[in-house]
Amino acid sequence: MSNPEIVEQEIIKEKIVIQARDLTLYHPRGVAFAGINLAIPAGAVVGLVGRNGAGKSSLLQCLVGLREPDRGSASLFGCPSLQLSDAVRERLGYVAQSADVFEWMTAYDHLCEIGKAYARWDEHRCMQLALRMNLPMTTPVGKLSGGDQQKLSFVLALAHDPDLLILDEPVSNLDPISRREFMLAMFGDLRSEQAAERERTVLISSHLLSDLERVVSHLAFLRDGHLQAFDSWDAMLEFYRQVPDTDEIDASAIISRHPKNQTCIIDTRLQPELAVHGKALMLDELFLELNA
């Protein structure tokens, strides 16, 4: 686990929207994830990355209260995830990995019907987003491609203007143009000068690292159910360095050690003198190193 001091400072300074304490979930073959501690501040856009089977989906399900952990706790806006109040549900938009939609209804039907349950539903905004993403509105959803069903899930999650978006691989089946519209939509309506400057918090799990790189403020690396690193993306770019594995390295500065290549990823804030020897990494390189 890295940078506990920095995370502590953020807890004190900022409002924490997503909190997990010692969150642990077992599954028949062992552990889905264990001892997860997270404190995500308001306004953060957090990318959750890790290999398939690292525990990302189950973690997100526990955070939104769809699964009960075996140990520890999670809360959203200070409200326990397993007992989310209506007020918190109104502020939350969640996209599951497999689209949560009604196959016999059209996209248009979904937008009309589901909207009735929410106070802040904006049908006009939904329609505009659906159009920009080329979502067919009048075909029964069961007949749509996986990608189009994903688009519908996303539009539905955004329609009530949530303050918190939790997204489980929301764009894996989408083409680059749709993905671009999706990323822009995450930040509210950038095209409208009148749109309110409200703070939205986003937690998104994705394999599309090049997409994440442009939009995240923070990154969480999950490996075999453990949080390897959680920090601001700018801090990782400025301070995480790949260095040759030598005795000079202070153990506390090590984020990960490559099992074969004799290199380490270190946090140069904890050992500044090594910064000059280190190589800065882009997100895909960092991912490879941390999952080696």
Partner: protein, 141 residues
């Protein structure tokens, strides 16, 4: 039936590499500083809005805000209420070359006049020195 077509030509001032070891906010800060130093962004000129940059590159608007805040703290740009960010009128010119470059136009002008009047170079130089001393003498009183 009358069809009105508006063609809007728009080029983005910045060039951002999203897959790069250089953080996006730092790329923006450095580009704005270079554009100001080179004169492409003149004092008083408006910067593209946070929204416009975020929309163009599909990046987080907070990243652009962060870059603009840093430039504002450094005094390179200022916030114009209701409009957005603009290049500050007074830039801190630290290098000697920058300062000489600003003096050049006035001296060129004086050189033209001296040539038209047929004043020899040494006399013109001596006169300039005398003027300098006069000005500096005034400021020291």
């Amino acid at each position: 039936m009358c069809i009105i077509v508006v063609i809007h030509l728009y080029t983005m001032l910045y060039d951002i590499q999203t897959s790069s070891p250089v953080p996006i906010y730092r790329q923006i800060v450095e580009q704005v500083q270079r554009l100001i130093a080179s004169g492409q962004l003149a004092p008083g000129a408006d910067l593209p809005s946070v929204r416009a940059v975020a929309l163009h590159f599909a990046i987080n608007p907070m990243t652009v805000s962060k870059a603009y805040s840093m430039l504002e703290t450094a005094g390179s740009i200022v916030r114009k209420r209701g409009v957005g960010m603009a290049v500050a009128m007074q830039q801190n010119l630290s290098s000697a070359e920058d300062k000489l470059a600003l003096l050049r136009p006035s001296l060129l002008n004086a050189a033209q006049i001296a040539t038209q009047l047929g004043i020899p170079a040494e006399d013109a130089q001596a006169l300039f020195l005398a003027c300098l001393h006069e000005t500096q003498g005034e400021t020291h009183e």
